[in-house]
């Protein structure tokens, strides 16, 4: 497309001026002329924790590297998918960030769009890199490796665990779950916790619920433990209507039918219902503690998802890949490395008053969470779940992740509302996904 005309078009279409595309950018390895030591970092501004965390990292980096300037660009988005879309708009408007925060779901996206500069060469020639990668679980490195290109180091990550309200368990006289519990145990536990507490003839406390607006803390742990996945191992084909996926979705549908789970709701609503005791269990990563602890809510603990035909930890990380548009790739690498330094990783551990909202990627730091007293009591489980248990690899994240996730969620809505059968819904889902999940 003619560049000047595209500028005009983009002004109109996305309120941005499109200049030459990212792929046409210079790949000059040297730092910018004149000794420019500035970096621009784009991050997902999902809330106050993102702002303070990124500012602290940038400030610490500038303090440790005098003469450098780090400019932070917060980008909004209701989820990772919309954040990527907004970053793409930003890039199309002519911004040239050096680094951008991405999650595992975005690794394929940035790689497929030729946005990212792989760090393989830095990992080989940087003496300090080996010590860092040795302290990071292999799964977290594999999760950001696309076609042998390591996209980024992971600074933090989340796994899927079951949160349970300890007060509700006590009140109901139910024993806390053990790590080896099964789907049948889970179902029995959830049933015991479901109650009509005010005796008006209607359930007002449910055993379990899951997020309706994301698949990561929604269906994925169940699909993984049924031995399935939503894509093939090479993430080149959809596998949404396999018997394993069918089994997982049927199990969840049955929880609603049995009245043990309410209709699925968005994650932010789940947090509220969990804190006020209307929901006894739900699934998520470490991020809920960033909401619970500052609000003074500590009556919770975590456990692995129950075992189905198998057990696999579902996890996803985040990192700061270096973009091809970076004028200072070497400095950008230093910044990326700094995001996984001990100093910064300690922030992800946090304190009981100011907890981190993801699990530090460095094992040595993550294992201090329970020692510094950040709830929950069972927080060693966070890192153990990736070190000591099998993991779901790959996470189903095709390059068109946003379209993929919205398609999956759209069909699940119909299934969980009882408007289509599980088999019929998954078949329709598979039909649509076949043109979205490709290589």
């Amino acid at each position: 497309m003619n560049t000047s005309l595209r500028k005009l078009a983009t002004v109109g279409a996305v309120a941005a001026l499109a200049v030459s595309t990212i792929t046409a950018c210079s790949n000059d390895d040297s730092s910018a002329a004149g000794g420019d030591k500035s970096l621009e970092v784009v991050y997902w501004n999902y809330g106050p924790a993102a702002e303070t965390g990124n500012k602290a990292t940038a400030d610490a980096f500038m303090a440790a590297n005098s003469g450098t300037t780090v400019t932070l660009t917060p980008v909004t988005g209701e989820n990772w998918g919309t954040y990527y879309a907004n970053v793409a708009t930003l890039i199309a408007s002519g911004k040239r960030p050096d680094l951008m925060v991405i999650s595992g779901e975005g690794a394929q996206f940035v790689h497929a769009n030729n946005l990212v500069r792989p760090i393989n060469e830095y990992l080989e020639k940087d003496a300090g890199a080996k010590a860092i990668t040795g302290d990071i679980a292999q799964g977290l490195i594999d999760g950001f490796t696309v076609k042998n290109d390591v996209v980024t180091l992971t600074y933090g990550w989340n796994n899927m665990v079951v949160y349970y309200n300890t007060d509700v368990f006590k009140k109901a006289g139910v024993e806390p779950p053990k790590a080896d519990w099964t789907w049948a145990d889970f179902q029995a536990t959830a049933k015991k916790l479901t109650a009509d507490t005010n005796k008006d003839g209607k359930t007002d406390r449910y055993g379990f619920t899951w997020a309706s607006n994301e698949i990561f803390p929604g269906i994925m742990p169940w699909v993984a433990n049924a031995g399935g996945n939503l894509t093939s191992d090479d993430v080149c084909a959809a596998t949404a209507d396999t018997p394993q996926v069918n089994k997982a979705v049927s199990f969840l549908r049955q929880l609603i039918t049995d009245g043990v789970s309410p209709a699925p709701m968005p994650m932010s609503d789940v947090f509220t219902r969990f804190q006020n005791g209307q929901v006894a269990m739900f699934g998520a990563g470490r991020w809920p503690i960033g909401t619970f602890l500052p609000a003074g809510f500590k009556s919770f603990d975590i456990q692995l998802y129950p075992k189905g035909d198998t057990y696999k930890t579902v996890f996803g990380g985040a990192g700061y890949p270096i973009l091809k548009s970076s004028k200072n790739p070497d400095l950008a690498w230093e910044y990326q490395k700094f995001t996984v330094s001990e100093e910064i990783e300690k922030q992800y551990v946090g304190t009981p008053e100011k907890p981190g909202d993801s699990i530090p990627s460095r094992r040595s730091l993550a294992q201090t969470i329970s020692k510094v007293g950040v709830p929950p009591a069972n927080s060693d489980l966070f890192y153990d779940s990736i070190d000591k248990f099998p993991t779901l690899v790959p996470y189903p994240a095709p390059a068109k992740y946003s379209a993929f996730e919205s398609t999956v969620l759209r069909h699940l809505q119909l299934i969980f509302a009882g408007e289509t059968s599980v088999a019929g819904g998954l078949k329709a889902m598979q039909g649509e996904l076949s043109s979205i999940v490709t290589c």
Binding site: M1, V11, G12, P262, D269, L409, R410
Partner: protein, 309 residues
């Protein structure tokens, strides 16, 4: 005896008439901020979208000229037809609520209430209008939750079974209609009240003297004189109700399936979910044409029922 000068024409003063061209320039000068704003924020974006609709472009790589291919896709997109259907259903319902119920409430507020109560109602109807649509939708999402929401709890006390407000194909669009109408009806009421207050009292009094009852007075005096206001609200509400985005996005994410999805939300997903800017632009252009045609039809037929003094 000296001849007396004729008095100046009313409203003109004694100054000589300024040339029409000067008046035109003055008018243009006053209008120029609006014109510039319109060009920058309406015309240029529309031109940009039209341009993009002929390209296959994902925001990040070089676009490819594809001619009319994006427009051809419109005819084979089954979901688009479904989404148009749900958009028309919700838009017409919202339009009806705003125009009919808005008029009814405005008349009640103007005629049947003590002054203090009128103030309370005006404020309560207008209050949702000034809150952001997303914030309104978030509050309603909590209230309308099937199993733990306040609305179903209150209905339950009346013996009504739990309604799946946000999760069923029947109720999700109705929820959008209720929430959007609740938010926007205040504006319609306010405009109606202004229209009602502009009707000369002498006409109503003359009708009373002639023995017309309240019903006859409404249909023979109030309605004809209010018809320009009604027409204005029909046009504005048609455009606004076809363009709702925040409510389905926050309340139902357009679901279940596409039951409560609107064209604007669908277009957004194609552009920033699939990174398919060209196709999204083609949807946008055709949707703009649909709204232009609808508005033109409304103007054409308005001559039959609007009355200007």
């Amino acid at each position: 005896m000296t001849e007396r000068q004729a008095p100046p024409a009313p409203g003109r003063g004694a100054s000589p008439q300024r040339p029409a061209r000067k008046d035109g320039l003055a008018a243009f000068a006053f209008l120029s901020p609006s014109i510039v704003t319109f060009v920058i924020f309406v015309l240029a974006p529309a031109a940009g979208v039209l341009y993009l609709s002929f390209y296959d472009w994902n925001l990040l790589s070089d676009g490819t000229f594809v001619g009319l291919a994006n427009f051809e896709r419109l005819f084979t997109d089954e979901r688009l037809l479904r989404v148009y259907g749900s958009t028309v259903y919700m838009a017409l319902a919202i339009l009806a609520v705003n125009v009919v119920l808005g008029l009814l409430l405005a008349v009640l507020l103007e005629t049947r209430m003590p002054r203090w109560l009128r103030g309370v109602f005006r404020l309560s109807f207008l209050f949702p209008f000034v809150i952001s649509a997303a914030a309104v939708a978030l509050i309603w999402r909590f209230l309308l939750n099937k199993d733990l929401g306040l609305v179903n709890y209150l209905l339950g006390t009346l013996g009504v079974d739990r309604i799946d407000w946000l999760g069923s194909s029947v109720w999700a669009p109705i929820s959008i209609i209720i929430v959007n109408s609740w938010k926007t009806i205040g504006f319609s009421i306010l405009v109606y009240i202004a229209g009602l207050q502009a009707i000369p009292h002498q006409l109503k009094e003359a009708a009373i003297v002639d023995g017309a009852n309240a019903w006859t007075r409404f249909w023979r005096v109030t309605f004809p004189l209010l018809s320009p206001t009604i027409f204005f609200l029909v046009v504005i509400n048609t455009i606004n109700s076809f363009q709702i985005f925040a409510e389905p996005r926050v309340l139902t994410q357009g679901g279940p399936g596409d039951a409560s999805r609107t064209i604007v939300e669908y277009l957004y997903d194609r552009a920033f979910g699939d990174f398919d800017l060209g196709y999204a632009s083609a949807i946008g252009i055709t949707f703009m044409l649909v709204l232009i045609v609808l508005t033109a039809i409304q103007f054409r037929f308005s001559r039959r029922w609007t009355f200007y003094e």
